[in-house]
């Protein structure tokens, strides 16, 4: 009666992983040095690939870790669906191991909220199932959430069941110069993204056509910018590094930005905006964010400069170490990689 047994591909993967020797899984290498390179001598494997089962009426998809994210999105798009995984190349397993959210996270949801079930190969080489196949489930401990973002240090992802969502009828991007991005964010009910680079603001609106149009009007009314809002094909190009800030810290960033309410003069280059970023108290004393795109209401800042490490408290580090030790007592899974303290630094 337990969940259907792992299929042959997963069993073969488990056999490859085995129970001894340092081992890591290679995906599309789009985020390979996140958390550090695996130690020398680490055996590199590929996870099994393929979409096992897409059930549009259940809004779920069972997919193997080695599947390309693009392939998954294409399959889903054929039935008018999508997932929270950021569409930036790479594999499903890699995207889950890193755990980064899409830049339009407000509209697409967080990656860790989309994972219903994981199957991973443990340090002793057996397939473990955590979570369940249904869209709602609190049976037992939440291993799926623990695995997302764990960089393959607790188990090697082999397969996942993801929640899917209908693609909205309409998705439109708008941009304006000199708009106060927070006014835009507060005026909108459920924007998919509000991005700001120091002078330009981009907004993605999604939903029924009439709602998107109404939201657009609300946006125009709330921000009153001289040049007005123009429609564009996509959001900005994102600088390579991710900083994780509180949404409220972005407001302070804005206040201090050239052209912001705290500065005299017109819009400055985005490169200078970061010099005022020292307000981000929770991120230590950064020398600056450099060129940036900030995700308003979320707190992610895409920057040209790497974020400083944020070491955890001793008690939290001890707890994390106990978790690592329980799941991988011999330290053979992705040796040399660590989710702490460099977890917020991920070159693109």
């Amino acid at each position: 009666m337990t969940a259907p047994a792992p299929d042959g591909a997963l069993v073969r993967f488990a056999r490859e992983v085995g129970a001894t020797g340092p081992v890591a899984v290679e995906g599309g290498r789009t985020r390979w040095d996140t958390g550090g390179d695996p130690a020398a001598g680490t055996r590199l494997l590929r996870a099994p690939a393929g979409i096992v089962e897409h059930r549009p009426e259940e809004m779920t998809v069972r997919v193997r870790a080695g599947t390309a994210v693009d392939e998954l999105h294409d399959e889903l798009a054929a039935t008018g669906q999508r997932t929270a995984l950021p569409r930036r190349g790479g594999t499903v397993g890699g995207a889950l191991a890193v755990g980064e959210n899409d830049v339009c996270v407000l509209g697409r949801g967080r990656v860790r909220d989309a994972v219903l079930q994981v199957r991973y190969v443990s340090a002793d080489g057996v397939v473990v199932t955590g979570g369940g196949p249904t869209v709602k489930n609190v049976t037992g401990y939440d291993l799926p959430r623990l695995l997302v973002g764990s960089l393959g240090t607790l188990g090697l992802l082999a397969e996942a069941i993801l929640r899917t969502n209908p693609v909205p009828a309409v998705s439109r991007w708008f941009r304006a110069e000199g708009a106060v991005p927070f006014k835009a964010f507060d005026a909108l009910f459920r924007p998919s993204a509000v991005l700001w680079n120091g002078c330009t603001t981009w907004v993605e609106l999604e939903g029924h056509a009439a709602d998107v149009e109404a939201e657009r009007r609300a946006l125009v009314a709330a921000t009153a910018v001289a040049g007005g809002w123009s429609e564009c094909d996509a959001g900005p190009v994102l600088p390579p590094y991710r900083w994780s800030l509180r949404p409220s810290e972005l407001r302070r960033l804005h206040e201090a930005a050239p052209g912001g309410p705290g500065a005299a003069g017109g819009a400055g280059g985005p490169g200078e905006a970061g010099e005022a970023g020292g307000h981000g108290a929770s991120i230590g004393e950064p020398s600056g964010l450099g060129e940036l795109v900030a995700s308003i209401g979320v707190g992610t800042v895409f920057s040209s400069r790497p974020a400083p490490p944020r070491p955890p408290s001793p008690a939290l580090a001890a707890l994390a170490a106990r978790v690592k030790h329980e799941f991988d007592p011999g330290g053979r899974l992705n040796p040399g990689r660590s989710v702490d303290p460099a977890g917020s630094v991920s070159p693109r």
Binding site: N101, G132, N137, G140, Y141, L146, V148, S244, S313, H325
Partner: protein, 483 residues
Amino acid sequence: MRGRPVSADPLVAALCAVLGRDRVRDDAAERALLAHDASVFAGGAAGPVCFPTSTEEVRAVVRIAASHGSAVVPRGAGTGLAGGAIPLGRPVVVVTTKMNRILEVDRDDRIAWVEPGVVNLDLTKHLRPLGFHFAPDPSSQQACTIGGNVANNSGGPHCLAYGVTSQHVLALDVVLPDGEVVRLGGLDAEPPGYDLRGAFIGGEGTLGIATRIAVRITKNPPAVRTLLLAFDSIEEAATVVGRVVAAGIVPAAMEVMDRGITVAVENFVHAGYPVDAGAVLLVEVDGPEAGTALDAERIAEIGRAGGATSVRTAAGEEERALLWRGRKTAFGAVAQIAPSYYLHDTVVPRAALPQVLRAVYEIAERHGLMVVNVFHAGDGNLHPLLLFDPREPGTLARVHAAGREIVEVSLAAGGVLSGEHGVGVEKRDYMPLQFSDVDLDHQNRLRRAFDPACRANPGKVLPSGHSCADIQSLERLPAGVWA
């Protein structure tokens, strides 16, 4: 215990030294009361009952309990339905109801810091003037606490669109079972490290005690439409639910009630529920005005095409509130039919709903039991309530036998054991039906990392053969508990 001076029990004396005598209760009455929650399980036995008011006090209680070799069980309002807060083996019970302050609301970060004893609905009422709410809305939301929501990763009707508790908790201050205090998660976009926040939520008090919780606050939707559809049969209602989702609509909530429960509910709320229908489907859509109206129309169409005998739209906020009050008090209302109920909480794929529901009625009939169904149809989360009179000899055995069959049917249909109530003590022995030994061993590893010494809520979640379950036996109320 009665009549013995406080100091006679060194554990109680030590607790009193920290909390004062009026916030440590050790009389038989208090301990007997806290041996129960809202479930039917009757094997609990509480030790001293503590009412801390701060993280520091919780930490002190946990440390004192540990130094006396006693386990600790946290408890909120005691509205759990799986026995998660039922103390086994006389542990120290840590009641969080006096930690009920809303500490901070930050509209820029869209969060509220709350203490664990804050009542779910109180937070939403507090946020109402600001235009926000706390999205998880379990049916017990008028009574249950946020701490309990965190422990059970609670859902509720509106988690269909908004997601369960874990999606709405950003950070937690937790007293670990060894007395260390850690902050899990963070208010920033992507806190570094393992997602121990996510791992902690739904831990049912076995991973520590949350003493401060940062929850996400959600903007109130500009428009809401609530539809009540009547059907001749529950299978028709369930089929329509699947068709709505297949049409690419994600309503805020989709709830089904069968005739038995609808009659009981209507008798209490007088909301105008159709008592002659085989089943009713309550659907709510929300969001911007135009799309909400459009979705409501399409749902009504799908409903009519699927055999709805009537489609009614709530005329205003008052009618809407009344309909929801009916749905949310449904469990209590069954007492009008029978004095006790036992329910399961399985989730099945939406497409399997009609077939599983048929099986549920068949199982109940075969065991000579009455069953009523009220459930979160949108995400396939069943709540079959087996109604019985515990005074009838032999009934409980039949109830448990029928319950097990319902679980088996649900899992065979590709479902899971619990959608939102948690495993607690009621369902822990069903866990091997869903998970292999290896799976359970890995869950236990997570638990062991948080609680190597088995001090936090022992005997819950994992079945015997795994973890701390072994050290507890589930006996009847110990004889002489009142002496």
